[in-house]
């Protein structure tokens, strides 16, 4: 317990330099602006910042990325409250009550509640990040090839199932993503697969260009398609949060923080599901159910606490299992690998201090969003008024030059374009992109674990099902798949009066 606190104190002290504090505040601001702009998401922000920070030392680069991530998830609430348009999908639940409050002339109060909820949510998530990472790290040491194989499959399946939309299409995309990860030399014998004698393709498709394409280029194409007019924003009241709101709804804050963190831990689910789940739980438990959707402070607080608590939660499986809990966490994991930080079961043995470094980075990001939430509201409102037609080409230039900067080769730019166009087309036909991306992230782990497992058992499949943890993960996958089968859905429908 005290070892953890000392380690956290040491990490925090190491970031108390002018340079680090400046970087944390600047990147939180970038995150808040990206999050506030409808059409630009946290994943896009983290992916773009990954390309920009490639030459920085690892701790500084990751500090920037984590601050961008936290800032973007918080920033989404601005446009949700003021425009009824979620800046990021994570803030969709905040539209319901945030915009209703704004229409009643309480936009400032709503923004204050969003700031309070986000700050407290991140703090709750941080607490669990510091508490659970060492514990989960111990459990992860028991994981072998069989468990990691099922965990990778679980990530893809659950991401496709829980992110809304059509689960079947999500599964197809997830398997396609796993396939994309097999392109290029295989990890065991360096045999070239599906490279068609192309030297660049033989090296495989890099993850970050694919992410920038799927979440950057594809998103700006969608933003251009929507052709949103420049919004009119009404004047608003004070954004200083009221302590009364915090004390009155402390149970909701705590519950939403816990729900958000635990949803973050589930691989591949993410902040939007965390916000909706927290909102639904708050509504069920509330004494003022009738106010939900009509300007409920409790509802807004729950959604904002839930989505921000999910951020540290999503980093827990990254650190312990090398499996991302959300799309931005997937990019963050890729960035960690690029910077030579090796997350995974060995992290608590090899570099335990890094876990507390991440917690300290989260704390700096939280301070950043608190400051911007209180003092920079007018600037953020101005940012919301910048038309998409001006922002989009500028972001696209960053997508191109950022992917080029990774390894100074144009092939990465072509990869980004390919995944951008693919992501856009898939979205038009309601194929979710998130499972595809998660498949690319988890493909290598899944393949190596399967082949290693088969070699260890000499082709015997039973250990994949009979080992306790592997069998349990398989059982969960089977239940998730069965629950989506039409005959099971009919069964449940019949039972419901």
């Amino acid at each position: 317990m005290f070892d953890g606190l000392f380690a956290f104190g040491h990490s925090l002290a190491s970031f108390m330099t002018l340079e680090s504090v400046f970087m944390a505040l600047a990147s939180s601001l970038v995150g808040v602006i990206i999050g506030a702009l409808p059409g630009l998401t946290a994943t896009m922000g983290v992916a773009l910042m990954t390309t920009l920070t490639i030459k920085l030392p690892s701790n500084q680069a990751l500090l920037i990325l984590i601050c961008t991530y936290v800032g973007a998830i918080y920033g989404g609430s601005r446009s949700a409250i003021l425009l009824n348009i979620p800046g990021t999908p994570a803030s969709a639940a905040s539209c319901l009550d945030g915009y209703a409050l704004a229409r009643q002339g309480h936009a400032g109060r709503a923004m204050g509640i969003a700031t309070t909820g986000s700050v407290l949510g991140t703090l709750i998530g941080m607490f669990f990040l510091a508490l659970f990472t060492p514990l989960l790290g111990d459990v992860a040491l028991k994981f072998g090839a069989y468990e990691f194989f099922w965990l990778a499959v679980f990530g893809v399946i659950i991401s496709a199932t829980l992110t809304g939309g059509d689960a079947l299409k999500g599964w197809i995309c997830g398997f396609a993503g796993l396939f994309v990860a097999t392109i290029g030399q295989d990890g065991i014998h360096a045999f070239e697969r599906f490279s068609f004698d192309n030297r660049d393709l033989a090296g495989g498709l890099s993850l970050v260009p694919a992410l920038v394409g799927a979440f950057g280029f594809a998103e700006i194409l969608v933003a251009m398609k929507e052709r949103r007019p420049v919004p009119e924003i009404n004047p608003f009241d004070t954004v200083i949060p009221k302590l009364k709101d915090v004390f009155q709804y402390w149970r909701t804050i705590l519950r939403s923080g816990i729900i958000g963190t635990f949803i973050g831990i589930v691989p591949g689910v993410g902040e939007d599901v965390a916000a909706w789940s927290s909102y639904a739980a708050a509504k069920r438990a509330s004494k003022e159910k009738e106010k939900f959707g009509k300007g409920s402070i409790e509802g807004l607080m729950a959604a904002e606490t839930g989505d921000n608590a999910c951020v540290p939660g999503a980093i827990i499986p990254v650190l312990t299992l090398q499996i991302p809990g959300s799309a931005p966490a997937a990019v963050l994991m890729a960035a960690m690998l690029i910077h030579g930080v090796k997350p995974g079961p060995m992290i608590m043995l090899e570099s335990p201090q890094f876990v507390y470094d991440v917690v300290a980075m989260m704390l700096l990001a939280t301070i950043g969003i608190l400051i911007y939430g209180l003092v920079l509201t007018k600037l953020l409102v101005k940012v919301l008024r910048v038309p998409t037609t001006i922002i989009v080409p500028m972001i696209f230039v960053l997508c191109v030059v950022g992917t080029y900067a990774l390894s100074s080769r144009l092939f990465d730019v072509w990869t980004m374009l390919f995944f951008g166009v693919l992501g856009y087309v898939l979205r038009q036909y309601k194929f979710p992109v998130a499972p595809l991306v998660l498949g690319i992230v988890l493909g290598d782990l899944m393949e190596k674990s399967l082949r290693r497992g088969l070699v260890l058992s000499d082709g015997d499949l039973t250990p994949f099902f009979t080992r306790p943890i592997a069998g349990s993960i398989f059982a969960i996958i089977a239940i998730v798949l069965l629950m989506r089968a039409p005959f099971m859905q009919n069964l449940f429908k019949r039972k419901t009066p």
Partner: protein, 176 residues
């Protein structure tokens, strides 16, 4: 995760049917490609380490799921259903998106990396993009065409200089 699906547009079962055929074809292509892949027998490797094993299984999985999507779309009347795009697409939106796609791809594939200085290419891209696509909003504001292009050129020059200098001198990247 992060990308949210747009709920206001509906995909017709016919489109799902076509998509299912494409996925099955893709899955089968992967399966056949993996089956025909070298099994490295001459290296005497463990048969469970053959490079085509995982792509083969993934190809099979995509084909099976594609067939399930096909059956579902067929059951929803996909064979007779109209294409959603035939009923609901606005020609001006198509022109607008063609311009966005075309000009963005032209920038990334032609203006960058084919000899033109990065700053110049980026200036051209941003100026033309804003000049063409922000025109409607500018017209509504009563700005003349010359004023619109000057404004677009200011954005273009500022951003291209900012990006080029920051990448070269702060992020230490040799630009294309």
């Amino acid at each position: 995760m992060s990308i949210e699906l747009e709920d206001d547009e509906v995909v017709s079962p016919r489109e799902d049917l076509i998509a299912a055929v494409l996925w099955v074809a893709f899955g089968l292509a992967v399966t056949i490609g993996s089956w025909r892949m070298d099994r490295l027998e001459k290296l005497n490797i463990n048969p469970y380490e053959i490079p085509g094993l995982v792509p083969f299984l993934l190809g099979c999985a995509m084909s099976v799921l594609g067939v399930v999507l096909f059956i579902r779309a067929w059951a929803q009347g996909g064979w007779q259903a109209p294409m959603a795009s035939a009923t609901g697409h606005d020609p001006s939106l198509l022109r607008h998106m063609a311009l966005v796609f075309g000009w963005s791809l032209f920038y990334a594939l032609v203006l960058v990396g084919t000899g033109l200085p990065f700053m110049m290419g980026t200036f051209l891209f941003i100026t033309v993009f804003i000049g063409m696509l922000d025109r409607q909003r500018q017209d509504e504001m009563g700005r003349s065409a010359a004023a619109q292009w000057v404004r677009a050129a200011i954005y273009g020059s500022c951003w291209s200089v900012l990006v080029a200098l920051s990448f070269e001198y702060i992020f230490l990247v040799r630009l294309p």
